[in-house]
Symmetry: C2
Subunit: 135 residues, 2 copies
DNA sequence: TCGTAGTTTTACGTTGACGTTAACGGAAGC
DNA sequence: GCTTCCGTTAACGTCAACGTAAAACTACGA
């Protein structure tokens, strides 16, 4: 089985991607409008074709959305993957940006754990009441 | 110092609350429009007055917003605090709702930790490059 | 008592993130 | 060749979550 890699498509059409992620083609085109995706065109200026890299970016976009980040901020974050590693100043700024984001994310995790605790305790209190009645 | 509790205001005006949470009075009134807050009126149908309980609810609203929850869902979650503990069916449904939310939140925490890892590694890789140059 | 600062309702405006429709083009199956 | 799906652009519509502006009321300190 040497050389057996999970066979993956190289390119995707817009509706293939849309179906895979349960969104609409319109949404994907919109992400292109705001420069979050830059698919190339196939067969002489017609269909958009999405590479695995485009697909990966789309995944990141949707992940950001799940946390309520606006698309502009999602773009900022995703663009970190494209920083030129020879530009010292850019690197420095990126590191600083990353540090800020890390702080935010740690805070979010903290808060989420709080929320989890609250819901959990509420749930249990209610469950106890129910199980008390059961007897 | 017995009986010394941190002196807290009993009631707040709309702009006091707005200032405290760095939002606008309009936003607070909007939350009332969608039944997320129900301040009482003081001195004959004029000013809205917010109790500490209202203030607590506002805090919860803003916390929900930080995670991108729409106001309707935030309302669902906050209303858990007001479930009638004598209504068995309501309790049962609330427990089920809580379980669903707990699942979601666990997933969010997991994802956030992933994101944290990614940013962290990126940051470190960049930092290494910078420190290499330093020498 | 007057000014000014805060509050009220009403109502229209705005922004982000798409949804929806129209009008068209190419390809594929019959 | 015709229909039936994709796909394309362009343009207008929509919904949530407020922003903003107008016009009136009230509260309060100098």
């Amino acid at each position: 089985m040497a050389g057996t890699k999970t066979l993956r498509k190289e390119e995707y059409s817009i509706s293939e991607l849309a179906a895979e992620f349960s969104i609409t083609p319109r949404a994907i085109r919109y992400y292109e409008e705001v420069n979050l995706l830059t698919p190339h065109r196939n067969s002489k200026t017609t269909q958009r074709m999405y590479t695995r890299r485009d697909r990966a970016r789309l995944k990141l976009i949707l992940r950001g959305k799940r946390f309520g980040f606006p698309l502009v901020e999602i773009k900022e974050m995703i663009d970190l993957y494209d920083v030129d590693p020879t530009e010292k100043e850019q690197l420095r700024q990126t590191v600083a940006y990353g540090d800020r984001r890390l702080g935010e994310i740690d805070e979010m995790i903290r808060e989420l754990q709080e929320i989890r605790e609250e819901i959990f305790e509420f749930r249990n209190r209610f469950l106890e009441v129910l199980e008390g009645e059961e007897a």
